[in-house]
């Protein structure tokens, strides 16, 4: 349900998505799935997601979400998407109820319907006790649950999740994963960005790996592993994104830890 064609974002020396024919996420409309979107830090995952959620303009190329062009019809796109940002920005001076009601109102859900929806979503995460607590008082995991609830608020056609399981407890993570499967089964499209490869491998029906703005692999976890001659997705990812020998890196770090602490004596006590 989302499609990116040669989309790019110029940010000086920062590597963005480079021009490509039919690039990452390019697929015919109508199929629904959970697409895992992987890449090392700085590969361009968040930039791609920001382009698809109409937060930044592509400087080249085009992208369509739910059948609408992100540049031509951003409001139509925004009405149809839910987004959990990696940064997790919230208005922390609001309570969870106030924040979610605001999101509901912005999406045209008002009055008792908004109230019911807010309560239902937070109940899903066992957060009814924290409904009227300021978000600044919430733990990282609780904030993440509020962000996920906010993303689900408008019953979106497409969900963009950037590290959605960050900080949330194992039980809530199970709920989220099951929820995503159910949503996909009901016809929603989900783009799932994460560094936790096990989770991606387990819940995503298809995976795209990007590096330095380019798609370097696409397929199921087994297909990608087979194509790279690796035993697991983790090893395939390491090969594709050019990581240094992990044993060598570890030895280097341990050596740095064991180095004499020069100047430790006159450091703050």
């Amino acid at each position: 349900m989302e499609k990116v064609q040669g989309s790019d974002r110029d940010e000086g020396a920062r590597p963005g998505l480079r021009r490509q024919g039919r690039g990452a996420g390019s697929r015919p409309r109508g199929r629904t799935e959970i697409l895992g979107f992987l890449g090392p830090n700085g590969a361009g995952k968040s930039t791609t997601v920001k382009i698809l959620t109409c937060m930044i303009r592509p400087s080249r190329g085009s992208a369509r979400v739910a059948g609408y062009d992100v540049e031509q019809d951003p409001m139509e796109v925004k009405k149809r998407l839910g987004y959990v940002p990696e940064a997790g920005a919230l208005y922390e001076a609001l309570t969870a109820r106030e924040y979610l009601t605001m999101v509901a109102n912005l999406r045209g859900i008002e009055g008792k319907y908004a109230h019911r929806k807010v309560t239902e979503l937070l109940d899903l995460f066992g957060m009814l006790d924290a409904l009227d607590q300021l978000l600044s008082e919430h733990s990282k995991g609780m904030k993440q649950k509020v962000l996920i609830s906010a993303a689900l608020m408008g019953n979106p056609e497409v969900l963009f999740l950037d590290e959605p399981l960050n900080g949330i407890d194992a039980n809530a993570a199970l709920v989220v994963k099951e929820l995503l499967r159910e949503l996909a089964a009901k016809g929603r499209t989900i783009l799932f960005c994460s560094h936790i490869l096990e989770v991606v491998e387990r819940i995503c029906t298809r995976i795209v790996i990007i590096d330095q703005g380019r798609k370097v692999a696409e397929g199921t976890a087994a297909q990608i592993a087979a194509e790279t001659g690796a035993a697991t997705l983790e090893q395939a990812f390491a090969r594709l994104t050019g990581v240094r020998d992990t044993a060598e890196v570890t030895r280097g770090m341990l050596s740095a830890l064991d180095a004499p602490e020069r100047g430790a004596a006159d450091g703050p006590r």
């Binding site: 208005y91 001076a93 609001l94 912005l106 600044s136 703050p268 006590r269």
Partner: protein, 553 residues
């Protein structure tokens, strides 16, 4: 219903506008106590910043007194029935002061209302149109500035009601509203233009310098008000030159309401409200969510220029470990925290203007020659120099990156010593360079090297003591408190009033200290000794408190 139609006529979504305006207001009013454990706002609710409101009401009384003084000075002789030119001129002066203060409020306290990257992160992916966002931001700014404007204009309105009748009072209220809206929109437009024109990588730095220039623009014309050449006679209104200033345009409503309008006053009123229309149109095109996108880019963009690997300027090896920690933090914040940088840099125009005012007010007399109260021209400079530490300390505690102060609580560090070191670092990093410049000016002005350096040294030692006393009263770690919108100008002015009281007593000290060379040396030794002891005293006083809070934060 009318409001709904008005909002819809402006092309915004009424429901979204209502929701977002309420949310922004709630966030602002709560932000002062958001992080206090067990605060009454924990479950929502809002708290008005009463101290700030009282402070602006106090400014309003001062402005009303200025109006009365101007009318009196214009030679009417009968304040029970002021002439229309006197009302026009006094109204212009009062509106100028209100506009300057509104400008300063936005500059110091509410720039985050205009320049807020948070909105982008939270709202950019929501179906909110640029028009709606623009209207929310403008409503947000106008709510604050309107409230401040009302508090500052109300006492003068009461004065006009008794002196000049209800029609003129109504005109005054309209003039205040117009001037406040004009100033707010102008500030919004300046920010919007800058954000539009400058690359995100450089924007943060450029904004701080532009804010510095803008503070000159806000304070600068106050200097003009000091000279009596501007005071017109009773027959005429404001001087022709003042007719170029927007506050005078709005004040032209007063003669119109009194039935004594001229072509000039009609044109001025047309210009006043016409420019508001132009500003609305211009800002409407600029202050959109794509504007917020640029602000978001400021938050994520980093300047590519190379920073020195180690702190230059101050020889760090002479500092203790705690002082080095604080010095590194303060220098880093000064480089990258726009609010802190602006707060520090805004002290420069104030000092320059006070120096110029002091020079215009009978020259800068050598306090070693003109003992005690005789050296009147120095009063404002004393005010700037001794008020500076208070303003600095007020800004040193607060930062948008206050959450990063967890590191002090999770490190094996003596926090009492850290707090004690803060004062020393402020003295070394800011007071010493600042007072060196002031000393140079004293030497040039007094024509005597020792007198200039000696006086700057005494002021510097006093300023250092003020810094330490501030820490003793409210010991806090630097940059560990959340920024409170709307409170900085108020608290700054409150501190300045306290400083004014203290500075009133300064000539007595100088009278004794500068009477003989031995007394001067003794005063310097005494102040230096007290200054050296104070950090230890601060550390001793706060250690039990810090230890008590070791596990409770």
């Amino acid at each position: 219903m009318i409001l709904r139609r008005a909002v819809q006529a402006l092309g915004a979504d009424y429901s979204q506008w209502r929701v977002l305006t309420g949310v922004m207001l709630k966030c602002d009013l709560r932000s002062s106590n958001v992080l206090q454990m067990g605060s009454p706002q924990k479950k929502g609710g809002v708290k008005l910043p009463w101290a700030t409101l009282v402070m602006y009401a106090f400014f309003g009384i001062m402005i009303a007194l200025t109006v009365a003084a101007v009318i009196e000075a214009m030679g009417n002789g009968s304040p029970s029935l002021p002439s229309v030119p006197a009302v026009h001129f006094s109204g212009s002066v009062a509106l100028f002061l209100i506009s300057a203060l509104v400008g300063m409020i936005i500059l110091v306290d509410f720039n985050s209302v205009v320049v807020s990257p948070d909105d982008y992160q939270v709202l950019a992916h929501q179906p909110v149109s640029s028009r709606t966002y623009f209207l929310v931001k403008v409503t947000n700014v106008l709510l604050y500035t309107g409230l401040m404007g009302a508090l500052m204009g109300a006492p003068a309105a009461i004065l006009f009601l008794f002196w000049a009748g209800p029609l003129l009072t109504a005109a005054w209220v309209l003039a205040v509203a117009g001037a406040v809206v004009w100033t707010s929109l102008t500030m919004v437009c300046v920010y919007a233009v800058l954000v539009h024109l400058i690359r995100p990588q450089r924007l943060r730095r450029v904004l701080s310098y532009v804010q510095l220039l803008m503070s000159f623009a806000v304070f600068g014309p106050m200097l003009l008000m000091q000279t009596s050449d501007w005071m017109p006679s009773v027959e005429t209104g404001p001087p022709a030159a003042l007719m170029f200033l927007p506050p005078t345009w709005f004040a032209s409503l007063l003669p119109l309401a009194a039935g004594e309008g001229s072509v000039t006053t009609v044109l001025a009123v047309v210009a006043a409200f016409g420019t508001i229309g132009v500003l609305v149109r211009y800002a409407g095109g600029r202050l959109s969510l794509s504007y917020a996108e640029r602000l978001g880019a400021i938050a994520s963009a980093s300047e590519t220029r190379r920073l020195p690997g180690r702190a230059g300027g101050v020889p760090m090896r002479w500092l203790s470990a705690e002082q080095r920690v604080i010095a590194t933090l303060v220098r880093g914040q000064f480089r990258h925290d726009m609010n802190f940088r602006m707060a520090v840099l805004s002290l420069l125009p104030i000092t320059v203007i006070y120096v110029l005012m002091g020079m215009g007010d009978g020259g800068l007399g050598d306090p070693f020659v003109e003992l005690g109260f005789a050296a009147d021209g120095l009063r404002l400079i004393h005010f700037a120099v001794l008020g500076m530490p208070l303003v600095l300390m007020e800004n040193l505690f607060r930062s948008e990156s206050f959450r990063a102060s967890w590191i002090f609580f999770a490190s094996p560090v003596d926090r009492a010593k850290l707090i004690g070191s803060t004062g020393t670092c402020v003295t070394i990093l800011f007071l010493v360079p600042y007072l060196s410049a002031v000393a140079g000016m004293f030497v040039w002005s007094f024509g005597n090297l020792w007198h200039g350096v000696g006086h700057a040294l005494v002021l510097g030692l006093l300023a250092h003591l003020i810094v330490q006393l501030r820490l003793l009263v409210t010991p806090r770690l630097p940059f560990s408190q959340r920024l409170r919108k709307g409170s900085r100008v108020g608290s700054m002015m409150g501190l300045m009033l306290l400083a004014m009281l203290a500075i009133g007593l300064l000539p007595l000290l100088l009278w004794v200290a500068y009477a003989r060379t031995e007394l001067t040396i003794a005063t310097i030794v005494l102040l230096a000794g007290a200054g050296a002891l104070m950090p230890r005293l601060v550390t001793l006083r706060i250690r039990p408190r810090v230890e008590r809070h070791e596990f409770s934060g």
